[in-house]
């Protein structure tokens, strides 16, 4: 069992290296992988994972799978806006792993010497979420510029807000949202409640919401993406388990979950 584990870890590490090498966007070079380190002892204990809100469903599944694969371990998640999480980490919040929806926030944490070298593991693009009955009859990104359409976006400081603005710039439209929510899940819930006619969220969020919302795709030429880096944190009380978790995320098993959720490879 342990040897299987270490093999998986080794493969995962290699894959991570490869992925990191292929990735075009900003952060991190190869992960500081110590595959053989995993053979020494089975990881155990608890870790706190701070992750971007858009990773809620995917990481939830990954967490359960990880706990099943490593009995006796507990993974607790704190989902929220990446910027807010970054601030919490730099202020000393007890976290072991950070997965951000944007490189900028990760850089913040790295600059504060709170994170080890990060690895970009997925990419996400935006989509328009509308209530199932599509009350404002939104069919394209340009509809969002109409004053009669109530649009919810994320705050401009959080990744999904920045990316949404990029999309608007790409499409050459000006959108006046009615609200700037704290994170992408809050934006999504406004759509689910039917309080707004459209919300700018990630494709993964549309998929995760199932039939509570309908997705209106954004053409690839105007769409914008954001890359998600993940890193263990220097103040982690359980670095071995933290690393094991990161490795799992980067492994084919982790990748399968993420792709299934709609994330793209970075």
């Amino acid at each position: 069992m342990r040897r299987q584990l270490s093999t998986v870890a080794a493969v995962a590490a290699a894959a991570a290296l490869a992925l990191a090498g292929c990735g075009s966007s900003s952060s991190g070079s190869g992960a500081a992988a110590t595959p053989s380190g995993a053979t020494s002892a089975a990881p155990s204990g608890e870790i706190n994972v701070f992750a971007a809100a858009s990773l809620t469903e995917a990481f939830g599944t990954i967490g359960k799978q990880f706990e099943a694969a490593h009995p006796g371990t507990t993974v607790t998640f704190n989902f929220g806006p990446s910027s807010g999480l970054a601030t919490q980490i730099t202020q000393g919040a007890p976290a072991d792993v950070f997965a951000s929806a944007s490189a900028t926030n990760m850089d913040q944490v790295v600059a504060a010497k709170a994170a080890d070298t990060p690895t970009t593991f997925v990419k996400n693009v935006m989509a328009i979420a509308v209530p199932p009955d599509n009350p404002a009859n939104v069919t394209s990104i340009n509809d969002l510029a109409k004053s009669s359409v109530k649009v919810a976006v994320c705050q401009p400081q959080v990744p999904c807000g920045k990316v949404a603005q990029q999309v608007f710039d790409n499409a050459g439209i000006t959108v006046k949202p009615v609200t700037q929510e704290v994170d992408v899940k809050a934006t999504l819930s406004k759509v689910e409640l039917g309080e707004v006619d459209a919300g700018m969220v990630y494709v993964t969020d549309v998929r995760a919401a199932g039939d509570k919302v309908k997705g209106v795709p954004i053409p690839a030429d105007v769409n914008a993406s954001t890359s998600y880096p993940i890193a263990t944190l220097t103040a982690s009380k359980n670095p071995a388990l933290a690393q094991a978790f990161v490795d799992y995320v980067l492994s084919p098993d982790g990748a399968a979950v993420l792709t299934g959720a709609g994330f793209q490879s970075p």
Partner: protein, 287 residues
């Protein structure tokens, strides 16, 4: 008859003199009370001092201008004052009904009035959405028939703030009405004053101190409201982003701005409370 003089060691005399002075001074607190009191003061003051000490004093104005503090502050003050007025207009009659009439289910009604006090504000916001949101039980008719939607509007902020703050006003005023001297109202009746005129000319003036105290509490609560506002009214600078929301947003990317905004809110609150302090403390003491 002989009398034995008690020996009078100087220490004993000194001790009794000291305690006599203490009794005369009337301000010696016994240890079991003094120590927790000091801790309580520290508990209350230290966070405020933390704000003052870590504030970006050198850069304060710049930070505030950049964070558009003026807009958030203006919005906060407008909404909290409107919410207080709404609370007075709706709350005083309800307080009167609770204090001066009896009917079945009155205790249940009183408990309901205090519900927003114990309900987490976010839950209040969700509840407001379910009723007054675009698809809400009442909200859908507001939208369909009148084209009025409350979420994402400044009016929505006022609604959310009123919801969480009105219990303060109702409870204070009800208490005052209960303990008010109904003899004066009786006298007014014998002098030919009709009930509503008596309310305006006799009852209201009598409970004015409590009304003011309740109003201040209500205003303070409305000013600080966050959860219900952000859930029901959303977050948009200039429209629904009150100071607490602005602080929360700023905290994520610009802690200095968050501290600066917090300081402004603190200063405004302290100024208002100091202005009304005397009347407030006096009426809190008598009711």
């Amino acid at each position: 008859m002989t009398s034995t003089l008690p020996p009078a060691p100087s220490a004993a005399r000194r001790a009794s003199a000291r305690s006599r002075r203490a009794v005369e001074a009337g301000n010696r607190a016994p240890w079991p009370l003094a120590v927790p009191a000091v801790i309580a003061v520290a508990f209350l003051l230290l966070p405020l001092m933390g704000l003052l000490l870590r504030a970006p004093w050198g850069n304060l104005l710049n930070v505030l201008v950049q964070a558009d503090a003026a807009q958030a502050l203006r919005l906060s003050l407008e909404c909290s004052i409107l919410a207080t007025l709404a609370s007075v207009v709706l709350g005083v009659p309800l307080a009167w009904v609770l204090a001066r009439t009896t009917f079945r289910g009155q205790n249940l009604l009183r408990a309901l009035v205090t519900l927003p006090l114990v309900l987490p504000p976010v839950v209040g916001g969700v509840a407001l959405l379910l009723v007054l949101g675009r698809r809400g039980i009442l909200g859908q008719y507001l939208d369909q028939w009148f084209g009025i939607t409350l979420p994402f509007t400044t009016a929505g902020v006022v609604v959310a703030e009123t919801f969480v703050a009105i219990p303060f006003l109702i409870i204070t005023v009800e208490g005052a009405l209960r303990s008010a001297d109904t003899g004066l109202e009786e006298a007014a009746a014998t002098l030919g004053s009709r009930p509503f005129a008596t309310f305006r000319r006799v009852t209201l003036p009598l409970i004015t101190p409590s009304l003011v105290a309740g109003g201040v509490l209500c205003w303070a609560r409305a000013l600080g409201e966050f959860g219900a506002t952000i859930t029901f009214a959303g977050n948009l600078p200039g429209v629904t982003q009150t100071m607490p929301l602005a602080v929360y947003v700023a905290l994520e990317h610009d802690p200095d701005a968050a501290i600066a905004l917090s300081l402004v809110l603190l200063a405004v609150s302290v100024a208002v409370l100091a202005l009304l302090r005397d009347r407030w403390l006096r009426s809190m003491a008598t009711h």
